[in-house]
C-alpha cells in the first residue's frame, strides 16, 4: 500500500517536474539558441542548434552598437535602480514604523493614501510639468523620485505587515534603555526588518530595472538611455535582426539574475511573515 502510494507520488513528481522544465526552461533555451545564431538562421525561429555558434560575436556586436551605448545604458540603469531602491527602503520603513505603531487616525489616512497609490495609474504629463517646475525633468534624480513615489505603496504595505510581527516589548526595552526615536528606528527596528527589506529590494529592483515606459517619458535624450530602452531601439530599427535582439535580451537579463541568485534564500524568509499577511 505505502509502496504503491510512494510510487504514484514519485510518478506525479516526475511528471510535474518534466512539465515545469518544458514550460519554464524551453523559452530560455530558445532565447539562448536564437542569440547564438546568424541573422538568417535566427529569423526562422527554429528550435535548433545553430550551425555556427555566434553567441559571443552577437553579444559583442550588441555591446559595441552605437559607440558602446549598452555600457552607458547599463550604468544608467544601475544608478537608477540602486538610487530608487535605497530611497524606497528608507522612506517606506519610516512610514511603516509609525503607521503600524501609532495606529491612529493619521495612520489610517496615510494607509488609505498609499492604497490609492497602489491602484491609480501614474499621470505622465502632469508629472512632467511638476518635474519641470522644480528643475528635475530629464534628470536621473527626477526619474528616481518618480519611481520611488510609484513603488512606495507596495513597500509600505509589506513592511507594515512585517512590523506587526515585531513585538512592542522590543521597543519598550529600547525606550527604557534611553533610546531616542531615531536610535530606536535605525538601530533596533531597521535591522529586524531585514528579511522583509530584502524582499522589497528584490521586487522593486526588478520592477524598476525592467520598466521601460517611465524612462521613455521622464528621461528622454540619447545620453539618457536605460537597459530596457536599448531593446526598444533594436525592435524598431532592426526588425529583422532577431539574433541581436535576443543577444540584447540576454545581456540586460544578467544583472537581475545575479541579484536574484544572491538573495534567493532570503526572499522566501522575507515573504514568510511579510506579504502573506497582505
Amino acid at each position: 500500500m505505502t509502496i504503491r502510494n510512494n510510487l504514484t507520488r514519485t510518478l506525479i513528481d516526475i511528471i510535474t517536474l518534466i512539465v515545469v522544465s518544458i514550460v519554464f526552461i524551453v523559452p530560455f533555451v530558445f532565447i539562448f539558441l536564437t542569440a547564438s545564431k546568424t541573422q538568417a538562421e535566427a529569423a526562422m525561429f527554429e528550435f535548433s542548434l545553430p550551425s555556427q555558434f555566434r553567441l559571443l560575436e552577437n553579444l559583442w556586436e550588441v555591446i559595441q552598437f552605437r559607440d558602446y551605448r549598452m555600457v552607458l545604458a547599463l550604468w544608467n540603469s544601475f544608478l537608477l535602480t540602486v538610487g530608487s531602491v535605497l530611497l524606497i527602503v528608507i522612506l517606506a520603513a519610516g512610514v511603516a514604523f509609525v503607521v503600524q505603531r501609532r495606529n491612529d487616525r493619521m495612520a489610517s489616512l496615510v494607509s488609505t493614501l498609499m492604497l490609492t497609490g497602489l491602484i491609480i495609474p501614474p499621470a505622465v504629463v502632469p508629472t512632467i510639468f511638476v518635474l519641470q517646475e522644480i528643475g528635475l525633468y530629464k534628470t536621473l534624480l527626477g526619474l528616481i523620485f518618480v519611481e520611488v513615489s510609484i513603488q512606495l505603496p507596495f513597500a509600505v504595505l509589506i513592511l507594515r505587515a512585517f512590523m506587526a510581527s515585531i513585538p512592542r516589548e522590543i521597543d519598550e526595552a529600547a525606550i527604557i534603555d534611553g533610546s531616542s526615536p531615531w536610535q530606536l528606528f535605525f538601530y533596533v527596528i531597521f535591522p529586524l526588518l531585514r528579511p522583509a527589506i530584502i524582499t522589497i529590494v528584490v521586487v522593486s529592483a526588478v520592477v524598476i530595472y525592467n520598466d521601460f515606459t517611465l524612462p521613455l517619458y521622464f528621461l528622454p535624450g540619447s545620453e539618457n538611455v536605460t537597459a530596457q530602452l536599448t531593446l526598444f531601439s533594436f525592435i524598431s530599427q532592426f526588425s529583422s535582426r532577431w539574433d541581436l535582439l535576443f543577444a540584447d535580451v540576454i545581456i540586460i537579463t544578467i544583472p537581475p539574475l545575479i541579484m536574484y541568485i544572491f538573495f534567493q534564500r532570503e526572499i522566501v524568509a522575507g515573504l514568510t511573515s511579510g506579504a502573506v499577511k497582505g
Binding site: N5, D13, T16, L17, V20, F24, P27, I31, F45, E46, A92, G94, V95, V98, R101, L113, M114, T116, G117, I119, P121, A123, V125, P126, F129, V130, L131, I150, L152, A161, S165, R168, E169, E172, I175, P181, L184, F185, Y209, N210, F212, L231, I235, L245, V249, I252, T253, P256, L257, Y260, I261, Q264, I267, V268, G270, T272, S273, A275, V276, K277
Partner: protein, 302 residues
C-alpha cells in the same frame, strides 16, 4: 501565521500616549510624504482637473464631463471592459490553481527543489518587453516552436496571437507564465511558516490528503488571499504584456482598459485619456475594496 500569535498581546496599549507621540514621531513620515506628495499626489490631482478639459498639452479648455461621455460612447469600450474582467479573473484564478500545488511540490523535499524554485522565478526577472519578443516568436503561427511541437504530435496549430478569438487568451497564458513565480513564492512562504506541530498532528491521523485538506489549505488561506488580491489588481491594471505582444489587436480583439487609455494618450486625446484613468481607478476601487473587506473578515474567523 506567526503574526496572529503575537498580535493579541502586542495590541494591549501598555505604552503611554506621550511616549507614543514622542517615539513614533510624524517626522518619520515627512520624507516619504514629500516625495509621494510632490511626485504622485500633485500630478494625480492635476490629472483629475485635466480630465474635465479638452487638453492639447499647450492649453486646456474646460468642457465639464464631456470627456467622460465620450469615453463611455466609445464603441470599443465594451470589448475592452469585458476583456479586462476576463483577464483579471482568469489570471488571478489560474495563478492560485497552478501555484498552490506547485508550492506544495517545491516544499516536499525534492532533491532539485531550490533549482526548480529558481527556475519558476526566472520569468519574474525578465522585462515585459523581452517576454513579449520571446513569446511573439514562440507563438508564430507556422514556424513558431509551440506550433511545431503541436504539429509533431498531430494536434491543430492555432494562430495564437493572430486569431481574434484566441489572442486575448494567449496573452493571458503569457501573463500567467510570467507571474506564476511570485504566486508560488508567496505560497511557499505561507507553507513553510506553518508550525511543524500541525503537520505532526495531521500525520498521526492520516496521509497526504488529510495533511493538505486540514492543515495546508486552511492555514495558507492568507497566502491565497494575497495571491488573489495582488494578481486581481495586477490583472485589472495589466498593460505591458498586452502591449508588447498584441498591442490590443488584432483589431481590438485583445484590448483592455489600459491599452485603450494608452492609445487615446498616444493619439493626443490627453483629456480623454486622463478621464479614462479616473474611470479605471474608480472601477478598481469599487471591485478591490469589497474584496479586501471580505478577505479581512475571513481572516478573523480563522
Amino acid at each position: 501565521m506567526t503574526n496572529k500569535n503575537t498580535l493579541p498581546t502586542s495590541r494591549k496599549k501598555k505604552t503611554q500616549p506621550a511616549t507614543i507621540s514622542r517615539m513614533y514621531s510624524y517626522w518619520f513620515y515627512l520624507p516619504a510624504a514629500i516625495v509621494f506628495g510632490v511626485f504622485f499626489l500633485i500630478p494625480t490631482g492635476l490629472a483629475f482637473y485635466f480630465s474635465l478639459t479638452r487638453w492639447t498639452l499647450f492649453d486646456a479648455t474646460f468642457i465639464g464631463l464631456e470627456n467622460y461621455e465620450y469615453f463611455f460612447r466609445d464603441p470599443q469600450l465594451l470589448t475592452a471592459l469585458r476583456n479586462t474582467f476576463i483577464y483579471a479573473i482568469l489570471t488571478s484564478g489560474s495563478k492560485v490553481i497552478i501555484s498552490l500545488p506547485l508550492a506544495l511540490l517545491l516544499t516536499s523535499g525534492l532533491r532539485l527543489q531550490s533549482f526548480f524554485r529558481s527556475v519558476i522565478f526566472f520569468p519574474v526577472l525578465i522585462s515585459a518587453v523581452a517576454v513579449g519578443i520571446t513569446f511573439s516568436s514562440l507563438m508564430q503561427p507556422s514556424d513558431g516552436l509551440i506550433n511545431l511541437a503541436l504539429e509533431s504530435i498531430g494536434l491543430p496549430q492555432p494562430d495564437w496571437l493572430g486569431d481574434p478569438d484566441l489572442a486575448l487568451y494567449s496573452v493571458i497564458m503569457i501573463d500567467i507564465w510570467k507571474g506564476i513565480g511570485i504566486a508560488t513564492l508567496i505560497f511557499i512562504a505561507g507553507i513553510t511558516s506553518i508550525p511543524t506541530e500541525y503537520f505532526d498532528a495531521a500525520s498521526l491521523e492520516g496521509g497526504a490528503w488529510v495533511k493538505f485538506r486540514h492543515v495546508i489549505l486552511p492555514l495558507s488561506r492568507n497566502a491565497t488571499f494575497t495571491v488573489i488580491l495582488l494578481s486581481f489588481i495586477g490583472g485589472l491594471r495589466t498593460f505591458e504584456i498586452v502591449w508588447t505582444t498584441t498591442r490590443g489587436g488584432p483589431g481590438f480583439a485583445s484590448d483592455v482598459l489600459t491599452s485603450v487609455i494608452y492609445k487615446q494618450y498616444q493619439a493626443g486625446f490627453y483629456g480623454l485619456s486622463v478621464a479614462g484613468n479616473v474611470v479605471l481607478f474608480i472601477l478598481i476601487m469599487s471591485l478591490v475594496y469589497p474584496l479586501m473587506r471580505f478577505f479581512n473578515r475571513m481572516e478573523l474567523e480563522l
